[in-house]
């Protein structure tokens, strides 16, 4: 068995566990691709090659000794740089955290390591996960491996590019308004935003705490299921963690879609969505119908207000969460005579424009006199969105939409116009506001030959059926 024939985590783990290939050989193949191409792609902020080699040798030793090396034995994983890794720089692609080495690991990092996965490095992102193109990184943009004149999407663009380029078999990202699903779509890989509370946020650097959720990037739906089952499930370190295991999605992947009711979201199939993306989404719906699903259109009216609500709720939460970057306990400090001046100088030098924009927007939305008009209203719209989703799920098992309105756009095309950039997330944001689950599955290419992703949405804890539908889409494409 050769390293280059192995892409999927399930295949790598099976080969490593059976001794057909060593974890070291798998790792070296991935590190070689990083060395060869990452200077151009810039998926990584930091590559942990020495620690990875040590971890791979430990997996091989376990196999040699007849010990269980774990369900993801020898699988190279890339970690978004907002996941805390003990003793390994964790920057959020921000100057304000440059060089910071956390004193603990995120729960998902601990669980992946215990499952035998090999962390190869920390991936580039939009600063503090605020963006849809990975151009807001303080350390320079990541480029799309399919076409290096294009963005990989964002904010987890380093993670999606790392998987698309074969630098890692799997990656983790975080999704606050689409930051896993949109880059997955633009890079032609699978991306999952699990139900809020199903994956511990302990050690995930907070952006919008009522919206943030960690999830995987993978090349197959089965890999995504396997990773979710490893990283998911209750964690006492996160007070919003749901006290149950991640649903057993892998067991039901190939149950098919016969009789399932699939609703195409009317509001996400019109204005603002590129014709080639619409065509691929309709093709996905037809494929599901051909496989036995009952497919129909459904209106979820309130989702059209998702963008407005999100860009008040997320900045409001961010303005509070990012108050902790004050030059006292970690990260950058710009010296000044008094503490207040020091904090002001540190934050002014340490945050990029998009982060400042959202902190100010959130501060404004929460300020006296504007709270009811902005933040309070956005929270009510959130209720409407959940209510309309709930109504749709009375008649449908899952919903279907495009993931991103377009294929990957050119580097620099939208970076000067925040509102235009925000529109990239119009199909993904409502899921976060509702706390529901969704997955983006690659479904062919657009007119420009670049990947298109189709989104399958499910109610809270609806992962089993969501993964079945995603698997059916993937299988139908081959």
């Amino acid at each position: 068995m050769t390293e280059s024939s192995l892409r999927s985590a399930v295949d790598i783990a099976a080969a490593v566990r059976s001794g057909d290939i060593s974890a070291v050989e798998v790792l070296e193949g991935h590190l070689a691709r990083i060395t060869e191409s990452d200077a151009e792609i810039h998926a990584f902020n930091h590559v942990t090659d020495d620690a990875a080699r040590e971890a791979a040798r430990a997996v091989d030793a376990a196999v040699a000794d007849g010990r269980d090396p774990g369900p993801l034995a020898g699988v190279p994983v890339a970690l978004k740089d907002n996941l805390c890794t003990r003793g390994v720089p964790t920057t959020c692609s921000s100057r304000i955290l440059e060089g910071w080495e956390p004193p603990y690991d995120a729960t998902v990092v601990t669980r992946l390591a215990a499952a035998g996965a090999i962390a190869v490095g920390k991936t580039n992102m939009d600063e503090f996960a605020m963006g849809s193109s990975t151009e807001n990184s303080a350390f320079g943009p990541t480029l799309n491996p399919h076409d290096t004149t294009r963005v990989p999407g964002g904010s987890s663009g380093g993670s999606s590019a790392a998987v698309a380029a074969g630098f890692a078999s799997i990656a983790l990202g975080s999704d606050t308004g689409g930051s896993i699903r949109q880059p997955a779509a633009l890079c032609g890989v699978v991306g999952v935003k699990p139900t809020y509370g199903l994956v511990s946020r302990f050690g995930l650097i907070a952006f919008g705490s009522s919206l943030d959720q960690i999830g995987p990037f993978t090349t197959t739906v089965a890999d995504a299921a396997a990773v979710c089952e490893v990283i998911g499930g209750h964690d006492a370190g996160d007070s919003t963690s749901i006290p149950q295991a991640f649903p057993s999605v892998s067991d039901h992947l190939d149950d098919g879609v016969e009789g399932l009711r699939v609703g195409i979201i009317t509001e996400m199939m019109g204005d603002g969505i590129a014709p080639d993306v619409l065509a691929r989404t309709r093709a996905a719906a037809e494929a599901l119908a051909a496989a036995g699903a009952k497919v129909d259109e459904v209106s979820v009216p309130a989702v059209t207000f998702g963008l407005s609500a999100y860009y008040l709720v997320a900045p409001a939460e961010a303005s509070s969460n990012l108050a902790r970057y004050d030059g006292v306990r970690y990260g950058l400090r710009v010296d000044a005579p008094t503490t207040t001046e020091m904090m002001e100088a540190t934050r002014t030098a340490g945050f990029g424009d998009e982060v400042k924009r959202r902190i100010m927007l959130g501060t404004y939305a929460l300020s006296a006199g504007y709270y009811d008009a902005f933040y309070g209203k956005a929270l009510k719209v959130r209720t409407l969105i959940r209510r309309d989703f709930d109504a749709a799920y009375e008649d449908f098992d899952v919903l279907l939409s495009p993931t991103s309105p377009t294929t990957a756009f050119e580097v620099g095309a939208k970076v000067d116009d925040p509102l235009t950039m925000y529109l990239n997330d119009v199909c993904t944001i409502p899921t976060n506001l509702a706390g529901h689950a969704a997955i983006s599955v690659p479904y062919g290419t657009g007119d420009d030959g670049l990947p298109v992703g189709v989104q399958v949405l499910a109610p809270a804890l609806g992962e089993v059926v969501m993964f079945r539908v995603a698997r059916a889409l993937e299988a139908g494409l081959k």
Binding site: F305, G331, R347, K377
Partner: protein, 100 residues
């Protein structure tokens, strides 16, 4: 929410958020924030009077753990990451007399 945000409003929130803006930034951010808030004006068309606000997806409940000592973070490791530390504590510049 029909009144557009002004440079004075932006200067005020910047100060509250401990951010300094130069004149160019103040002008640019004012325009950008106004565009975003204007887009949010579409919520005006909704009748929200009888709608409960939703601050989080899962109802907030107290989560208790057993009252037994855990293993805290290593103090030296935590302080090593600080820009300045002294005698087991975080060190900051003067905090008295900096009212502005």
């Amino acid at each position: 929410m029909s009144d557009r945000i002004t440079p004075e409003d932006v200067a005020k929130v910047a100060k509250l958020a401990l951010l300094r803006l130069n004149d160019d930034e103040l002008d640019r951010f004012t325009h950008q924030l106004a565009d975003i808030l204007e887009h949010a004006g579409d919520m005006e068309s909704l009748d929200l009077d009888d709608v409960e606000p939703m601050a989080r997806p899962i109802p907030l409940v107290n989560v208790f753990r057993a009252d037994v000592p855990g293993v805290p973070l290593d103090r030296d490791e935590v302080l090593r990451a600080a820009p300045s530390a002294d005698d087991g504590r975080f060190r900051v510049p003067s905090i008295l007399g900096d009212e502005r």
